[in-house]
């Protein structure tokens, strides 16, 4: 190891697919013989680890990797090293890299482009300090892992298995202290999402919050009636159970 020698540029590569990793190593060594690849990582977590221990000058990061994405790794690196992202196709990322003047390589990697990137890196290594890309990365993370406005499925544990239930099959959700009960036409299950979270992620047209403990599929509602004790109760099509209704919802229901 030539860690003490200033002249040597230390490089870490993070790429989860073996053939790509190997050929990239080869290409880098061929085009940048003065640099040393100090670590070649197959996932995000080990890349973070390697960066911490080996203090590289340049890190090549694949964006999609197991356990930690390239963006997460870049966040952890901060301004400790120059970062070059590699990606096969990430529309948003490429746009952001261009506007933020961040280095990136598109896979399959063309030698010409790699050479250009290496030249730019060499220049920067002499004249600049690595920048912290945190703002850019945070913005990108939101775009690359888009939180769908509305969920289409919920995962529920039933017994000792996990099951995915389509929201189209769900009649109602009812909160039960710790858990939320999900009821479909032929089954019941428990999910970990709170009613509050569900309200924000379910389609408001399809699901109505009729009570602080209950969300009902609008299509499943049969009627809202007052029971013998004077309390309002909601009945469902083809179902025996009666669900509680808040005063607020009563008003809305009557207004319909």
């Amino acid at each position: 190891m030539q860690q003490s020698e200033k002249a040597t540029v230390k490089i870490i590569i993070a790429e989860d697919e073996l053939p790509l990793r190997q050929s990239f190593e080869r290409e880098l060594q061929r085009n940048w013989p003065e640099a040393t690849i100090v670590a070649s990582c197959a996932d995000g977590a080990s890349a973070i680890d390697a960066v911490k221990h080996l203090k590289p000058d340049v890190v090549f990061l694949d964006i999609r990797m197991p356990n930690k994405s390239g963006l997460e790794v870049a966040k952890a690196i901060g301004d400790q090293a120059f970062i070059v992202f590699t990606t096969a196709y990430d529309q948003y990322a490429v746009k952001a890299f261009e506007s933020g003047a961040v280095d990136y390589l598109l896979k399959p990697i063309e030698s010409k482009r790699l050479v250009g990137t290496i030249e730019r890196l060499q220049q920067r290594l002499e004249t600049q300090q690595p920048q912290n890309l945190e703002n850019l990365i945070s913005q990108l993370q939101g775009q690359l892992t888009p939180q769908a406005d509305t969920i289409k499925w919920v995962t529920a544990s039933a017994g000792d298995s996990v099951r995915m239930i389509s929201v189209d099959d769900i009649l109602y959700f009812q909160s039960d202290q710790k858990y939320t009960k999900v009821v479909t036409g032929d089954s019941e299950a428990v999910i970990r999402m709170s009613l509050k979270e569900l309200v924000s992620r379910l389609d408001g047209e399809q699901f109505w919050k009729v009570h602080r403990s209950t969300i009902v599929a609008a299509s499943a509602i049969h009627a809202v009636k007052r029971n013998e004790l004077g309390a309002w109760r909601l009945s469902l099509k083809d179902r025996a159970e009666r669900l509680p209704v808040s005063a607020e919802f009563q008003k809305r229901f009557k207004a319909l």
Binding site: D16, E17, L18, P19, L20, Q22, S23, F24, A42, D43, A45, R64, P66, N67, A88, Y89, D90, L106, K107, P108, I109, Q147, A148, T150, I151, K152, W153, V154, T155, D160, S161, V162, R163, M164, S166, D168, I191, R192, M193, R201
Partner: protein, 402 residues
């Protein structure tokens, strides 16, 4: 001349078990009339021949027997054809509408009257002939006396006579005349509905094909992998390109001459999954192993395109790729009785790990919708995970074999 007239000579488009022969044509059209005239005409001929032979044997005066037979023929023939002919004339001449209905009703009433008159005239002539010429005239005279005094019998006679007149005057066709428009409307409404449904199927199938276009990420990464092995392992590179090409080709929507999505068999789709997995195997190496277990009797059946490949892609994308150690993908397809069972299992990161309690799962929702359109309630798509983290997407189509 009415525009409906052409339609009158064409069989009604809808089926009914209550109709046969000429009754498949709209009532009071010439096609209907010809059929009815033939059947009724044959009946009248038979009756006439039988009555004629009877009278020839019975009567002493053979010429009276012949004249009476002719009267019988004219009477019964008139009864059988007057209503049908009159109303057919009306329907083919008078334009469709309220007026036609009124005129046909009048024609029907006139027909009833004429039929009664034909019967009265011919029966009177025949009775007289019998009374004068039959070898059993005493008996006949006796019988007619008795019947006059018996009120219930007279009632029965009256009802029977009226039913007979009603039937011979094409009364049943008259009822059908009133019901035909609503039945036709119902039929066309039904047909429109099923056509709309078929169109929806097609639109849905096309939409899914378009939505299921190849992921650029997959394409470029695969090409990068091929490039990386092209020098050291040219055979592997070549094989991978072949697999990739087959996979790409199958992912481009193909339509037949009628612009419908081309059908593919389950076997072809499983083969495609095999190619996709082969490509992924090059990329992921030891991180991916897979097995395909398809019963030979299901391979030949037609199945909506890209459904199974989508499930396999999901298994790779959400199960294997996010895992550092990878896992196994298992594809199975089999018939259980008449039901079809398809399963795609992966031993990757597990459900809860990557979806954190919820998932937008657009791909799955899309598949589910496609299956619902094609198979209705008999298709079920289920995603489940066990404790070990094995995730299984399963499709069950009840009564797949009909």
């Amino acid at each position: 001349m009415s525009s409906r007239q052409n339609g009158l000579n064409q069989a009604l488009p809808y089926e009914s078990k209550w109709r046969w022969g000429y009754q498949h044509y709209p009532v009071f059209g010439w096609a209907w009339w010809r059929g009815r005239a033939l059947i009724f005409g044959l009946g009248v001929m038979m009756l006439t021949i039988m009555t004629g032979i009877g009278m020839l044997i019975d009567f002493d005066d053979k010429s009276v027997a012949v004249t009476t037979t002719i009267i019988f023929f004219i009477g019964v023939g008139g009864m059988a054809l007057t209503g049908a002919t009159l109303m057919t004339l009306v329907r083919t001449i008078v334009d469709v509408g309220q007026k036609q209905k009124v005129v046909i009703t009048i024609a029907f009433l006139i027909s009833l009257g004429l039929t009664t008159m034909f019967d009265a005239w011919s029966s009177g002539e025949i009775e007289r002939a019998f009374a004068e010429n039959s070898s059993q005239k005493e008996l006949i005279a006796e019988a007619s006396k008795v019947s006059l005094d018996n009120v219930p019998l007279a009632m029965v006679n009256l009802i029977t006579a009226f039913s007979l007149y009603f039937w011979l005057s094409a009364g049943i066709a008259f009822i059908r005349y009133w019901r035909e428009p609503s039945q036709l409307r119902a039929y066309f409404a039904q047909r429109e509905l099923s056509e709309a449904k078929a169109e929806k199927h097609q639109a849905q199938a096309k939409l899914s094909m378009l939505q299921a276009q190849i992921e650029p990420h997959f394409l470029f990464n695969s090409l990068a992998s091929v490039k990386s092995v092209i020098r050291d392992k040219p055979e592997l590179a070549e094989k991978t390109i072949d697999n990739l090409v087959d996979y790409l080709r199958a992912s481009i929507p193909r339509f037949d001459d009628d612009n419908r999505v081309q059908t593919v068999t389950l076997g072809q789709q499983i083969e495609l999954c095999d190619k996709y997995l082969e490509v992924m195997k090059l990329r992921l190496g030891d991180r991916l192993s897979y097995s395909i277990n398809v019963a030979p009797d299901v391979a030949g059946h037609v199945f909506p395109p890209l459904v199974i490949t989508s499930l396999v892609e999901n298994a790779i994308k959400h199960g294997i790729e996010p895992s550092t150690s990878g896992g196994t993908v298992k594809i199975s397809a089999a018939l259980e009785g008449r039901d079809l069972l398809i399963g795609v299992t992966d031993t990757g990161v597990g459900l809860s790990h990557h979806s954190k309690g919820s998932s937008s799962g657009l791909g799955l929702a899309n598949i589910k919708e496609q299956l619902a359109v094609l198979y209705g309630g008999s298709a079920k798509l289920n995603l489940s995970a066990d404790e070990a983290g094995e995730v299984t997407a399963s499709i069950k189509i009840t009564d797949f074999l009909k």
